[in-house]
Amino acid sequence: MNGLKLNPRARAWLGFGLGAVVLFAAAPALLTDFRLSLLAKYLCFAIVAVGIGLAWGRGGLLTLGQGVFFGLGGYAMAMHLKLADAGEGNMPDFMELYGQLDELPAWWAPFANPVFALAATVLLPMLVAFGLGSLVFRRRVRGAYFAILSQALAAAMVILLIGQQGTTGGTNGLTDIEGFFGYDLDDPVNQRMVYFIIAGVLLALLALTRQLMHSRYGELLVAVRDSENRVRFLGYNPANVKLVAYVVAAGMAGLAGALFVPAVGIISPALIGIVPSIEFVIGVAVGGRAALLGPVLGAVAVAWAKTALSERFPGTWTYLQGAMFVLVVAFLPGGLASLWGMVKRRRETAAPLVPQADAPVLVKEAAA
């Protein structure tokens, strides 16, 4: 590896090129349609993970409510697709069945417009994140408080969705989605197309996130994570800095949710609640929260492991899953990505990599 001394920019291009080859050529060639559709699902989780990596790994915001934004994006997309499936002027099947509504609820109507729906998949989660974030960060609610609040948000959102069965599908969620902007999702060719879209979006978001991480804003975000007060004394409002990361992460989760719908054909409260929200974060922790690719790999690895383990050990896989979370988070806080860093550092002593959002105060002297 040492012989391979490329400049950073070339490395980045090489990395993206390699990623593109893997996602666009290798995976479709090697995997069956079923496995490819699973990969599409994992990549959706990976998109969520990229956002969490930014907000948590770089910004120190442990957001345990990404399911909410994933769900908002997913529902926005699914609402449009259900309306499109039903055809102009008709109501989605479940609504007639369970809602017994005479006409489409007013808040559904705009989603018939594809442009509105597509915009909503990203903007709606961002708007909610903006609202909650500006309330919460401004009042300096952080750390564990923020984590628990965001978790409670996920719980509240699930209850709200389930309670409005007639218009949201309740626990069932929105299922049986047949078409995707005119393409029949039953057709494996179209499923493949959805996969390619997801892979492309993932790569694009990685590029965007990389730019964000390496921008001045990215440096500032790390500064806020490590010493919020110091940043404040430099004249910045850390609340705004965090807000940007939180809102961007929410937008990514929303987009992921929107793409998940054509890939899997369902969006339901089961993807929004506390458990899926924690699983998103666990994937990031396993992969490596502060790295760019760590979250992606972690999310894919955790989702893949869940599938593989539960297929092979249907009765006992939860032990293995739990043990994996425990071991990696407790003993390898930098995630799998840090293994690489460790190997490197053993070779050439360099700076430590894994930052701690809650670094202990080392010197505790009395105040003067």
Binding site: L135, A144, Q151, L160, G163, Y319, Q321, V326, A330, Q356
Partner: protein, 295 residues
């Protein structure tokens, strides 16, 4: 009128249950800053302890009374094991405790499923606790709820007294206030941490015994209520019990009243909104320990 009184009592009893669960968290989260997601599984352990005891002690009343101390010990022992194996390595990373203990809670649920079977199990409550005490014409109060209320009052009193008047309580408070100074005063801080965690976890075991009177006993029984309990501690404020006590009852009341007027789903959502609004006003919770060193 009777309905309102009935709802008031319902609110109090919801608060009592919340508090019973939050009390342990007030120690482990509030004092030690550990976000223990496996707390719910310690509750489960307490409930299963009651179940196991009833296999040998068939008298419902006696087994319940015996279960209280044994569940205390069982859950406490699990807590100590968890602290020793994992948490002590994570004191500088409070957020990571959340993820690690969540993995632990997954494993404990599966363990319960493998030991006791996936279906819920039942325990027999003493007859008196399945009945109600009548107050006036229409108003009656469930004895099980009264029992839990009594248990909570007892637990809060005992915990407060223990923190205030016992050597261990002094040590726990000392370690929270100034860990280094405690260490150089000859206090084995690591052992105090473990004991604090023991007590916090033990209280979950006691809560588990009490919950057998109200709800199901199964592998996932702990997961439903745990977030609510964390919110109680968050809103109550770190480091002090009285905040959790007040907030538990206020939230219980709020939920009971809103639920009566609307539905349980709406009540839960409104409670959440109320919490966010409250934290706007007091971001550190109802009560905070302010010291100069925090400034």
């Amino acid at each position: 009128m009777t309905v309102i009184l009935g709802q008031l009592f319902t609110g109090v009893s919801i608060g009592a249950v919340l508090l019973l669960i939050a009390l342990g968290l007030a120690l482990t989260f509030g004092q030690m800053n550990v976000i223990n997601m496996a707390h719910g599984e310690f509750i489960m352990a307490g409930a299963y302890t009651t179940y196991v005891l009833q296999q040998t002690i068939t008298d419902a009343g006696l087994s319940l009374l015996v279960a209280l101390p044994i569940a205390f010990a069982v859950a406490g022992a699990m807590g100590v094991l968890l602290e020793w194996a994992l948490i002590r390595r994570l004191y500088t990373r409070p957020l990571d405790t959340l993820l690690v203990t969540w993995g632990v809670s997954l494993m404990l649920q599966q363990l319960a499923r493998d030991i006791f079977g996936a279906p819920n199990v039942q325990t027999k409550a003493p007859d008196i606790l399945t009945e109600s005490t009548s107050l006036g014409t229409d108003l009656s109060i469930a004895n099980s709820r009264l029992f839990i209320l009594g248990l909570v009052v007892l637990a809060v009193a005992a915990l407060t007294a223990a923190l205030k008047f016992t050597p261990l309580g002094r040590r726990i408070r000392a370690v929270v206030q100034n860990r280094d100074l405690a260490a150089v005063s000859g206090i084995p801080t690591a052992r105090v941490d473990r004991l604090t965690f023991f007590i916090g976890s033990s209280l979950a075991g006691v809560a588990g015994v009490a919950l057998t009177l109200l709800g199901p006993i199964g592998p996932t029984m702990g997961t439903n209520i745990i977030i609510d309990a964390f919110l109680v501690v968050v809103v109550g404020g770190i480091g002090q019990l009285k905040g959790s006590v007040i907030v538990a009852f206020v939230l219980g009341m709020l939920q009971a009243m809103v639920e009566y007027l609307t539905t349980l789903s709406v009540a839960k959502v409104i409670v959440f909104i109320a919490i966010v609004a409250f934290l706007q006003w007091r971001p550190q919770g109802l009560f905070t320990l302010r010291t100069r060193s925090l400034a």
